[in-house]
């Protein structure tokens, strides 16, 4: 098993005819993901290296059996594309696009909740289940199949930790990039819940960063609802207050939302927090050996 994407994933890529969408969609296909459709309004009937393109996501569902939608649409149109995907009948929507206005995401978030659709992202690297399926832009070569579930706000930082886990001789059930925006479809708690229920996941690595209180909420949830061991890493200890660092989500105001506050909250609930990506991977590998 794995979570969110796997052998049963049938993927439709919105934006498959674009430069980024085709590059990554075809990479996902080459990895073994079952890419069944592309979606671009007005380009229905075309194909991208043999994958049929439809005008709407609903057609990709009815004609090609898609159950997972990946959104690679430019930011100003992306919220509408996610809304379309939510209404199309797919179970999962993974939104890679960065730069979507946050208030657009407010209504989209609630729409996904109402319809019971699993939304990952936006502004995320996607989901990889090593050896099974890759939906997004995660470079799969740094991750082997194994018992560690990873959930992260950040892309490159996750690759760094994944590579160190691989060098330590272990691997991953899934890697989920939830995205660094202020409003994302799924947060740490949603993904922790899925890993807790996944028989292939024995240990969870959670990678957070400054801004918001998702890590603090996750700390409470881990104490009350998660029995599997969790190791955490938080980036942004040296970030100055009130400055934005790349991710819209990485904003701190006052004292709450700082890396130190998040570390303290996690440690207070017994979660070990690594000082660096290297130490985090080392702690995870060591804890796994003693399970």
């Amino acid at each position: 098993m794995s979570i969110i994407v796997g052998e049963n994933t049938k993927l439709a890529v919105s934006g498959l005819t674009g430069r980024e969408g085709s590059f990554h969609g075809l990479r996902n296909k080459a990895y073994g993901t079952d890419l069944v459709a592309g979606v671009t309004p007005g380009k229905g009937g075309q194909d991208v290296e043999g994958t049929p393109v439809f005008d709407t996501i609903a057609e990709a569902v009815s004609e090609a059996g898609a159950n997972t939608s990946m959104i690679f649409v430019p930011a100003r149109f992306a919220a509408a594309a996610i809304d379309e995907a939510i209404d199309s009948g797919v179970e999962t929507v993974i939104a890679i696009t960065e730069g979507i206005p946050v208030l657009d995401m407010l209504s989209t978030y609630w729409k996904a909740k109402e319809k019971g659709v699993r939304l990952i992202g936006p502004n995320c690297p996607g989901v990889l289940s090593p050896g099974k399926a890759n939906v997004g832009i995660i470079p799969a070569q740094f991750f082997d199949p194994g018992p560690i579930g990873v959930v992260s706000k950040s892309g490159t930082l996750t690759y760094q930790i994944g590579n160190e886990l691989k060098q330590a001789g272990t691997g991953n059930s899934s890697i989920v990039g939830i995205g660094g925006d202020p409003i994302v479809g799924s947060d740490f708690i949603d993904i922790l819940t899925m890993y807790e229920a996944d028989p292939d996941t024995e240990l969870i690595v959670m990678v957070g960063e400054i801004g918001g209180d998702a890590e603090e909420r996750a700390a409470e949830f881990i104490a009350s609802d998660i029995n599997k061991p969790v190791v955490a890493y938080i980036a942004g200890f040296t970030a100055p207050p009130g400055k934005q660092m790349g991710h819209a989500g990485a904003i701190i105001s006052g004292s709450s939302g700082t890396a130190q506050a998040k570390k303290d909250a996690l440690e207070a609930k017994g979660v070990r927090v690594g000082e660096s990506p290297t130490e985090t991977a080392a702690i995870a590998a060591e804890m796994l050996r003693s399970l």
């Binding site: 930011a75 100003r76 730069g99 979507i100 206005p101 946050v102 208030l103 407010l106 209504s107 978030y109 609630w110 832009i137 995660i138 470079p139 070569q141 740094f142 992260s152 706000k153 950040s154 892309g155 490159t156 930082l157 996750t158 690759y159 760094q160 590579n163 660094g180 202020p182 409003i183 990678v207 960063e209 400054i210 918001g212 209180d213 998702a214 909420r217 890493y233 980036a235 942004g236 200890f237 040296t238 970030a239 100055p240 207050p241 009130g242 400055k243 934005q244 660092m245 790349g246 991710h247 819209a248 989500g249 990485a250 006052g254 004292s255 890396a259 000082e275 660096s276 990506p277 290297t278």
Partner: protein, 386 residues
């Protein structure tokens, strides 16, 4: 993107929220001319993106032209440090507005509640002071209520301001102001709007006497007027980075940092600090591996005179390390850094990349295999903490 007080007030006025009329000035003479036009008493207010201006001496009341000249001269050019040690922020502009006859001081805000994924309205009868202190000492004095995504009308707003205990005869106007603040949030893509104080004048008018507004930077494509404000960044390095399309945040140290990805870059700052160094900046090179992007990034970092060594931390995912290595070699031919450059390349094609760098045998370039070793090395080369 944060707006200055007067920019926020202009946005309020656009949506029909009452604000004192005033003018902005960037010279003493300009400020005096504005004061003469507005009349006395008038308030001369430093325009900086930080709270606690009053305590820092950045807000003064002038009773006559001599005082207007004296206060404008004192405020323009002063450095204001925030209540949590932020800054200092140099005052380049002052806002001059007519003095208000204050009967009551309230607090009102509309912010994006990330946790609940809704807009949150907050109102208190205890305005004009530090609202965090009010929330901590007397939590019942701050009424918080989520704004229903399907609509927020005068009746909803009235129940909030009434529960907050605002004066009975000000309720309708205060409710109207709150409805309009929510409208500003939705229509202008503001993720934070704070009015402290929202005053009731002696004539019982409700007026926004201050403004703190944060606009979602992702929304600027649909707000031409706000996008123009975003183009005015005062820090020279940040301005330069912006023109080159890089995400750069200036810090105080002497170790220049370049990494790919916001998370990895933040993590790089942390490990440099752990190694005893002081990062000079945050610079996310993104997926840029071309020589031009690397030259641009190095130029921005180098333009900060404090920097004495640079750490280049790359984990190649889709970006290939050999391309980055070629970019570094080309860049080093185009600019003379005049300081040590520590490079750590890992990930896709890292061995090829390291080989390219080794063969180029660049002076003052130091390779390290891991992030931690690279951080230690650059701190050593930079000469410790600044």
């Amino acid at each position: 993107m944060d707006l200055l007080e007067y920019q926020g007030k202009q946005l309020f006025a656009k949506h029909g929220i009452a604000v004192p009329s005033g003018e902005v000035a960037d010279t003493v003479d300009g400020a005096v001319a504005a004061a003469e036009k507005i009349g006395y008493p008038c308030a001369i207010k430093a325009q900086v993106l930080i709270g606690g201006r009053g305590k820092a001496g950045g807000i003064k009341i002038a009773q006559n032209v001599e005082e207007a000249r004296e206060h404008a001269g004192a405020i323009l050019g002063m450095d204001i440090v925030g209540p949590h040690g932020e800054g200092p922020f140099r005052v380049d502009q002052v806002w001059i507005e007519g003095g208000s006859d204050i009967a009551e001081e309230y607090y009102a805000s509309v912010i994006l509640d990330r946790g609940e994924k809704k807009l949150l309205a907050m109102v208190s009868a205890k305005g004009g002071m530090d609202i965090e202190a009010v929330a901590a000492e007397d939590p019942d004095a701050l009424v918080k209520r989520h704004i229903d995504p399907s609509g927020f009308d005068a009746a909803d707003a009235r129940s909030i301001v009434a529960d907050a205990g605002l004066a009975e005869d000000a309720l309708d106007e205060a409710a109207d102001a709150l409805v309009k603040l929510a409208e500003v949030a939705r229509e202008e893509d503001a993720t934070l709007i704070e009015v402290n104080p929202l005053i009731v004048t002696a004539g019982r008018d409700v007026v926004a006497l201050d403004s703190k507004v944060t606009i979602d930077g992702n929304s600027l494509f649909r707000h031409q007027d706000l996008a123009e404000i975003a183009d005015t960044v005062d820090d020279p390095q940040e301005q330069m980075a912006k023109e080159k399309g890089l995400t750069y945040v200036k810090l105080d140290g002497n170790v220049g940092i370049l990494a790919n990805g916001a998370g990895l870059c933040m993590s790089t700052l942390d490990v440099v600090a752990q190694a005893g160094g002081a990062p000079a900046n945050f610079l996310d090179a993104g997926g840029g591996s071309k020589a031009e992007a690397i030259v641009n990034a190095l130029e921005v970092i180098k333009s900060d005179a404090k920097v004495s060594a640079i750490l280049f931390n790359i984990f190649g995912g889709i970006t290939r390390c050999d391309e980055i290595a070629n970019g570094i070699v080309t860049a080093s031919q185009q600019i003379d850094l005049g300081m040590p450059l520590v490079v750590r390349l890992d990930g896709t094609n890292s061995e090829e990349g390291l080989k390219i760098l080794a063969e180029a045998n660049l002076p003052n370039l130091h390779q390290e295999k891991t992030m931690l070793d690279a951080a230690r090395r650059v701190v050593e080369l930079a000469g410790g903490a600044s």
